[in-house]
């Protein structure tokens, strides 16, 4: 987390230097590359740490951590607007001081987090809770551990990769086009379209903590059956009847975005169930390549189809019908991948001693056992 804080804040400082000296490559290098590395490390560290503090409620733990990521966007967006208007009447002149301010704020707050967050001591467990035995757990919940190197050799890893890829691609389908989409569907004003984006952000954040916590009770696989199955039905409704009523449009898109957020938040707990807690952070990092791939594929699909539909002379809701039906297909692929998930073959399990060699490098030294 210390490294994440340094990289993320340095990204803003280098980006500010790039803007001040009109060197665009410095902005790409700082804000894009260095900041991006900080973002990736900072995303994973709290997740793997919180899972270890909440062995009884891993879905709640990952939901809390990843809701923080969604909540950060709710703070950053209005904060950036406020800074840009506070520093200068022309927003272009306010970019450098805004970047410097944001870098300093992130450095202080993330360093505070890095200072406080600790792994629980070896053998720590919540009061009154005992780890379930192999017989007490479901088939898809292991008490063994699988190393990150072994995990990527299992079919389960790639099935979950496909699940996350499909869920994120479908979510981006809405997010990418949210503002123009509601305008094309219902001819609303710009302020209302911006409000729609805000509503989706809230649904995204609520889905992260809500659905992920529920997955502790109904199980990870059924939760993804809901995200992908009900999600596909929602996309179908949106494509077929979305333009008929703004209430239906809002309801369906809010549910889709809550599933998008929930999919992000529940996946680390799913990984913990499948591969054990020992190297869940490293496995999660590898699985998040699905997010990067979906971040490229989703907008490419959506934009290419939107351009094609515009060239074909379509307008309004018709611009999106084909994209939305493609997203139904994407979600069905993810749904099938999730159904195919089975317990990991025991030959991939780590030896008992290896399992105790826990991830201490990411989050620092373990905390005292009194916590």
């Amino acid at each position: 987390m210390f490294t994440a804080a340094l990289c993320w804040s340095s990204g803003f400082f280098i980006g500010a230097l790039g803007v001040a000296t009109t060197q665009l490559w410095l902005v790409y290098f700082g804000y894009g590359l260095v900041g991006g590395i900080g973002l990736g490390i900072g995303y994973i560290s709290p997740v793997s740490t919180l899972i270890k503090w909440f062995p009884d409620r891993p879905g709640l733990a990952t939901g809390l951590a990843i809701m923080g990521f969604g909540g950060g966007a709710l703070i950053a967006s209005p904060l950036t607007s406020t800074l840009l208007s506070a520093y200068a009447s022309n927003p272009v002149d306010a970019i450098v001081p805004s970047f410097l301010t944001l870098g300093a704020v992130y450095l202080i707050s993330m360093m505070l987090g890095a200072f406080v967050v600790r792994l629980p001591a070896e053998g720590w467990q919540p009061e009154g809770w005992t780890p379930p035995t192999e017989e007490e757990t479901s088939d898809l919940e292991t008490t063994a551990n699988v190393s990150a190197a072994s995990a990527i050799r299992t079919p389960q890893f790639w099935l979950l990769w496909t699940v996350l890829f499909c869920n994120v691609t479908a979510g981006i389908g809405i997010l990418e086009q949210a503002e123009p989409m509601i305008g094309d569907f219902f001819s609303v004003e710009a302020a209302a379209a911006a409000g729609f984006v805000g509503l989706l952000s809230l649904a995204n954040m609520a889905g992260r903590i809500g659905w992920s916590s529920i997955s502790d009770y109904i199980g990870r696989k059924p939760t993804y059956i809901m995200y992908l199955g009900v999600g596909a039905v929602m996309y179908f409704l949106l494509a077929s009847f979305g333009s008929a009523s703004i209430a239906l449009f809002l309801l369906v898109t809010v549910v889709i975005l809550s599933f998008y957020g929930g999919g992000f938040a529940t996946i680390p707990a799913y990984l913990k169930d499948m591969f054990g807690v020992a190297q869940v952070g490293a496995i999660h990092g590898r699985l998040l390549t699905a997010w990067s791939a979906a971040g490229v594929a989703g907008p490419l699909i959506i934009n290419a189809i939107a351009d094609y539909q515009t060239a074909a002379g379509r307008t309004g809701a018709d611009l999106y019908t084909l994209s939305l039906f493609i997203m139904v297909g994407v979600l069905v692929v993810g749904f099938i991948a999730n159904l195919l998930v089975r317990p990991v073959d025991p030959r991939f399990h780590m030896e008992q001693e290896e399992g105790h060699d826990r991830e201490t490098s990411v989050s620092g030294s373990p905390a005292g056992s009194e916590a």
């Binding site: 923080g68 909540g71 709710l74 703070i75 950053a76 967006s77 209005p78 904060l79 707050s109 505070l112 406080v116 609303v188 004003e189 302020a191 209302a192 911006a194 409000g195 729609f196 984006v197 805000g198 509503l199 952000s201 809230l202 809002l250």
Partner: protein, 46 residues
Amino acid sequence: MSESGSQGSWVQSSSMALVVILWALVLLPLLWGVYQTLKGVVALFS
């Protein structure tokens, strides 16, 4: 015995204070962000 007991309770209350401060540092900006977002959402329904 009583010295170690009072030391323990001091550690516990200072830990609790730290937890409260850190939650406040997280929740206050988050609530501000949610409020700002909700102000935009109101435009959608007005």
